[in-house]
Amino acid sequence: MANQSALEIENLKVKVEDKTILNGISLRLEQGERSFIFGPNGSGKSTLLKTIMGIPSYVIESGSIKYNGSEINDLNVYERSKLGITMAFQQPPEIKGVKLSQILKLCLRKKRTDEFSPDEKDAVERFKLTEFLERDVNVGFSGGERKRAETLQMLFLKPSLILLDEPDSGVDVDSLRLLSEELDNYLRTSKASSLIITHKGDILDYIRAERACVVMDGVNHCYPDPRTVYAEIRAGGYEHCLSCSTRVQEEAS
């Protein structure tokens, strides 16, 4: 098990409502490894994360997703969550009548009537969510408030694979710093692996990752150094980065 990859995706083809979105994605994430995912709008980045999480409308046509060596293609969201996979949604749903405090306790496997421990209360405070605890989840939350709530839920779940869909979009500088530092701290201490989608690249300043993955037209290309890749994308656009000499060949082969 020591050399077992955390996540292995092979030639993954995925359709959503009869339209093929991913057309042969292959990537590998080692234990404790982090990878940024770049790509133009509509290239399939979010589809990739949602497929790994097992969201029902994302249908695998072919290929496989293995987590810690076992194929998870046929597992539902709950079963994947139980394996330690979790995702921060870019646009989480509003759930009327369910309070933020309740969903945080569910993540902690606590009953609704249980109290938060002092450490958990501290975390809620650090995430500036104390005053939102008795509000309905995501109802009337700003972009930043949603991101903070999503991230805290994930951390309370103590996952082994974190899927983050644009954690730096719609977030102010202070919130981004807070979220990133908390995530970075968790990833370092827990040895969890992570796939992080980013458009703007702001989060690169806070979280160090071992590799980058560029998704274009439903396929992907991986590289060893996210900062260099992001600089090249900024300088020459996504087309340019396809020709970059640092591209990693292993996943495609």
């Binding site: 539902n76 969550s81 749903p93 569910l106």
Partner: protein
């Protein structure tokens, strides 16, 4: 007729009362009333509230207050239907609650009307008078003992909310699959007065039909009807609420949250009559259909006779949100757990403005029925 403390009640009654969520700890109530089958067996006002409330059987109240005879049957028509006529002809009492003018009743007055005998027909006539400027809460539980099968509950309730009084009236129904239930309720709301009805029905009833009616006669009077309904297998329920806005500046809100499942049938009605140039009313019904064996009908009626009346309604029926289910499952909940959390959330009672004590009691009942923790 009455006993010194609740401990003196038959265990069969007391245990059942606790099972259906009645708070038998008298320290958290301002008064307690028990009517079992055809008899009032307990009626007591807490010492701290002795000079603020009177509570007794309606028959006793008629003897004590001869004027009551003139008031009875003025808010509910005796000839409305066969059920009102049956109560008028043969009734076994009921609760009479008089909250004195200016009283501040901080703990709820609790009443429990229970059917314990098989094939019993309970016929009660309840009266509440919330005196001028008073503030109070009444929590009434109507239940059928789980060992008693068939039965019928016919309950006439007439409620006066006098000028500037505030009355929160919470009713929990806890019937069995073979009970026939016909409450008939009329309310009159005076100047600057506020009546809030919270109705919770989460267990089956063979046949339940009611449409309490509030007359907002006073200037600036207000009536609110909140209903949370979880209609169980085999139940047929026709439930509505009706406000007549006659007073200048009178206001009403009708809110219903309804869930049907496993072959149940619910007709959810709401009617607002706007009869003043300065009145406002809003009606909202949200329904959730858990399967395709059940039927849920929402029938909102807005009727204005004055052009200045502002009346509106929203009614929506749907199923549990797939997106919400998936989201909760991604947080480590099985599908069944996620369904339970969403149903529990749908039956949120925070809109009811209940005191924390009453709210905890109601929350416990909802948790019990939905299997939430």
């Amino acid at each position: 007729m009455t006993r010194e403390s609740l401990v003196g009640l038959p265990h069969r009654v007391l245990n059942e009362a606790m099972r259906v969520g009645v708070n038998v700890d008298e320290s958290d109530t301002s008064g307690v009333f028990f009517h079992v089958d055809q008899k009032t067996i307990y009626s007591k006002v807490g010492e701290a509230f002795d000079d603020q409330i009177e509570m007794m059987d309606t028959r006793d109240a008629l003897e004590k207050y001869p004027w009551l005879k003139e008031r009875m049957w003025t808010l509910v028509n005796m000839d409305k239907d066969e059920y009102t006529r049956e109560v008028a002809e043969n009734w076994s009492g009921g609760y009479f609650i008089y909250i004195k003018p200016g009283a501040r009743v901080t703990f709820p007055l609790q009443s429990c009307l229970m059917i314990t005998m098989e094939n019993s027909r309970q016929r009660v006539h309840n009266i509440i008078i919330a005196g001028e400027g008073s503030e109070s809460q009444v929590l009434t539980t109507c239940a059928q003992h789980h060992e008693a099968r068939e039965g019928a509950h016919l309950g006439v309730s007439e409620i006066w909310v006098e000028d500037r009084a505030k009355l929160s009236y919470t009713m929990v129904h806890y019937w069995s699959p073979e009970t026939v239930v016909r409450p008939r309720t009329g309310v009159r709301v005076g100047d600057g007065a506020e009546f809030v009805s919270n109705y919770i029905c989460l267990t089956p009833a063979k046949d339940l039909q009611m449409e309490p009616k509030a007359l907002c006669e006073g200037v600036g009077s207000k009536a609110v009807f909140n209903s949370v309904l979880y209609v169980q297998p085999g139940s047929h329920m026709d439930l509505g609420s009706w406000t007549v806005l006659n007073g200048r500046g009178s206001v009403t809100e009708l809110n219903t949250r309804a869930i049907t499942r496993s072959g149940s049938h619910l007709i959810s009605r709401g009617t607002i009559d706007g009869n003043n140039d300065d009145c406002r009313g809003h009606l909202e019904c949200r329904g959730l259909l858990l399967d395709e064996e059940s039927i849920l009908e929402a029938i909102p009626i807005l009727r204005a006779s004055k052009s200045g009346a502002e009346l509106s309604h929203e009614a929506a029926i749907g199923k549990l949100s797939e997106e919400g289910l998936t989201y909760l499952m991604s947080r480590g909940l099985s599908k069944d757990e996620a369904v339970s959390v969403l149903i529990r959330g749908f039956m949120d009672i925070s809109i009811m403005g209940l005191s924390s004590g009453v709210r905890q009691e109601i929350d416990k009942i909802i948790d019990m029925v939905t299997g939430s923790s």
